[in-house]
């Protein structure tokens, strides 16, 4: 079954739908025209470019180019995580990259090599979207984990120092904040799995059904991707927080002021 294409005039009609929320927001006195305009424009341009690139990537289906695309996605995610978590890139770029690269590659490789098993293990049609979906969710988790952890440490500086004075090692003293940060990072994924199919139909499954897949196949892919998202988010946040401690603290276990990006 072929998916129905949306012709350009109908795409223009679709953009017209944005006028309704824009009008309502304006009536409420929320002057967001500029933000809405920029966001819709950015989304359209970025997705159009990705569309062209993916078309070319799928046709070429070269393992090196596929790998390069994943590397670019990892680098963009790396910088995005640190910027949104309010941490200085120069201190954490390497550890965050290691954490997300290891977790994404581990989950994606597990899924592709052992579960889906396409004829070509590097098949762009599988590797690129699956890695992208896992990475997107992993990114959110890492932003939450890093932001929560370092905010809690700064807010509870005296409590952390008290733990050190009571004989705790650095790892023992940060443990309460570490656990809270990991919990906050993986909670949305756990809640998402618990309500999946009841509250909403997941995007990937909907896309596959629209693309002509059997619902049962789409369901199995959705379960596979959720398990991988859960695994990679948990792995990446734990590795990232643990590795970040080395850069974040001085030799006397005191949080270094200069690692926090005060502009954010």
């Amino acid at each position: 079954m072929e998916t129905l294409d949306i012709e350009l005039p109908r795409m223009a009609l679709l953009y017209g739908l944005c006028l309704l929320p824009w009008l309502l927001l304006r009536m409420l006195g929320l002057l967001l025209s500029r933000d809405i305009g920029i966001s819709v424009l950015r989304m359209s341009v970025q997705l159009a470019l990705v569309g062209f690139y993916l078309k070319w990537l799928f046709e070429l289906n070269n393992p090196w180019f596929n790998g390069l695309w994943i590397l670019v996605m990892l680098l963009v995610a790396d910088f995005s995580i640190l910027r949104r978590a309010g941490l200085k890139v120069r201190y954490f770029a390497l550890v965050t990259f290691i954490a997300i690269a290891f977790s994404i590659l581990f989950s994606a490789a597990f899924l592709v090599f052992w579960v889906i098993r396409p004829a070509l293990f590097y098949d762009a049609r599988y590797v690129v979207p699956l890695a992208g979906m896992i990475l997107g969710n992993c990114l959110q988790g890492n932003v939450i984990a890093l932001e929560r952890f370092y905010s809690a440490l700064r807010k509870n500086e005296n409590e952390y120092a008290t733990f050190l004075m009571l004989g705790a090692t650095r790892m023992e003293a940060v443990r309460p904040y570490f656990r809270d940060a990991i919990k906050a990072a993986i909670n949305p994924t756990i809640a998402g799995m618990a309500t999946m199919g009841l509250v909403s139909l997941p995007g990937m499954m909907t896309g596959q059904i629209l693309g002509g897949s059997e619902p049962w196949v789409a369901v199995k892919y959705q379960i596979a991707i959720m398990v991988c998202i859960f695994t990679s988010t948990t792995l990446a946040t734990i590795i990232n927080l643990k590795l970040s401690l080395k850069s974040a603290f001085n030799d006397f276990d005191v949080l270094r002021d200069e690692v926090i990006d005060k502009r954010s």
């Binding site: 008290t162 050190l164 004075m165 009571l166 004989g167 090692t169 006397f252 005191v254 002021d257």
Partner: protein
Amino acid sequence: MNPIIRFDQVSVAVREKTILSNISFALFPGEKAVLCGKSGSGKSSVLRAFIGLHAVASGGVYFQQMQLTPASVHMIRSATAYIGQEPILGAETVREALLLPFQFKTHRNQRPPDARLVEVLNRLHLSVDILKRKCSRISGGEKQRIALARGLLLGKSLYLLDEITSALDAESKQAVFDVFSDPQLTVLSVAHDTEWLARCDRILELEAGRLVRERIHGNA
């Protein structure tokens, strides 16, 4: 006799601002010393520098002849009790707060029996019933005594006290004075309380991060 605390030409800078300059003094076992001076003169910074919470820019900080370094800081902190004006108990109930340090690897095998908890509470004029109470429901004075009790349970002999007497009621103050009359305990404190100052052996006066005068009890 070797000093328990020694500052040798210590300077400390925080965010490129010098907060302590060339501080030198020594404190011997069993001595009670007080740091005094105006607000912002660097009194609390001396305490924080001793336990490595402020990085020493130059000079040396020593605990029993051992220099404060990344390798020794854990040992120095474990041997020292630091009690601030509003101590953080870090647990839900008072019993949990008292036993908190014994969850850490350093003290895991030293968990005291209940009889020892009762003995320490009595020494600080605290009732045994307080063990069941929530830390959020006890007074500032009680919090300070619980923090002190934790130090005693850990067998610490060096106490850094930051303005603890200012918020104490008469009963708590008496309990604290009783505890520190023990000649085994060494105290470096920040205080303005005249009663406490009169009991101290050594008075160190700070002004703009410099030690401007040191008086030994009985000397002008």
